[in-house]
Symmetry: C2
Subunit: 137 residues, 2 copies
DNA sequence: CCGTATCCCCGGGGATACTG
DNA sequence: CAGTATCCCCGGGGATACGG
């Protein structure tokens, strides 16, 4: 998700709405589609609540600016919770909200489908390669 | 999804892989996350196979360049099928592949969750507004 | 440690014009 | 009709430096 992941422009969304061809899952996908979002949610799921720096280290390559922006967005969508402890040094912990966990089974299904396709594609490639060899003989 | 939706950069993906914190659903989400992608899949689902111009009209606001690029990507991922008839004028029809339809139930679930959240949020806003009024009296 | 502020650059994507 | 080619511009996002 390094590239920009502008999902759709506001103008486009407006246009969609006008045409009343609105997509019910657009809102939620627009969220998931954000750059780095899946990595963030995935890490919060698999490693549990964690601090900003921890998360930043795990989602390798992300900039602080980007991570902050994504977390704020997810927070705004009530998918992620931010816990601030005003100790010195300060300690901020992020975790999935109840709503965030509602995506668990969908995420699981997507992961399952993704993995199945991956193996199917690998098998197809292997079959093609074998065919190539056979033809070459 | 008007904005650019570069999901993650190749570098980021590579970094992820290196850290072996790979997300199994990343591939598939990277696909769904592409700009306009959901609109396209949604339209192909609800209106069935259709021609380029038809699709372009429905996904209002999208440019020909973008639509072409997205369709090529979806084709490459075997989610969409392209049928070309060399008549004059030429006729090109796009439709979901079998694999494309494998996303149907996940899409359905996402749509359901999205709509539920929408109504929940609307209710919450209404409650808040009512509270405001009550406080103002 | 957890951010925000500033700067700057690159390329994504729209508009237009043109071809098969 | 279904694209491709060209141009051009805007802002997304990284790097750096700094504040709470």
């Amino acid at each position: 998700m390094t590239s920009s992941v502008p999902v759709s422009t506001a103008a486009a969304s407006a246009a969609q709405a006008k045409e009343s061809v609105t997509c019910p899952m657009d809102f939620i996908l627009r969220m998931l589609m954000g750059p780095w979002t899946t990595y963030i949610l995935y890490n919060l799921r698999s490693h549990g609540p964690q601090r900003f720096g921890e998360l930043k280290r795990r989602v390798s390559g992300i900039s602080a600016k980007m991570l902050t922006e994504r977390l704020r967005t997810l927070e705004g969508a009530s998918l992620v919770k931010r816990d601030y402890e005003a100790t010195i040094p300060p300690k901020v912990t992020y975790s999935l909200t109840k709503r965030g966990h509602e995506l668990d089974d969908v995420m699981g299904r997507l992961a399952e489908i993704g993995m199945r396709w991956e193996t199917e594609d690998a098998a197809a490639r292997a079959a093609r390669a074998a065919e190539q060899l056979r033809a070459a003989e």
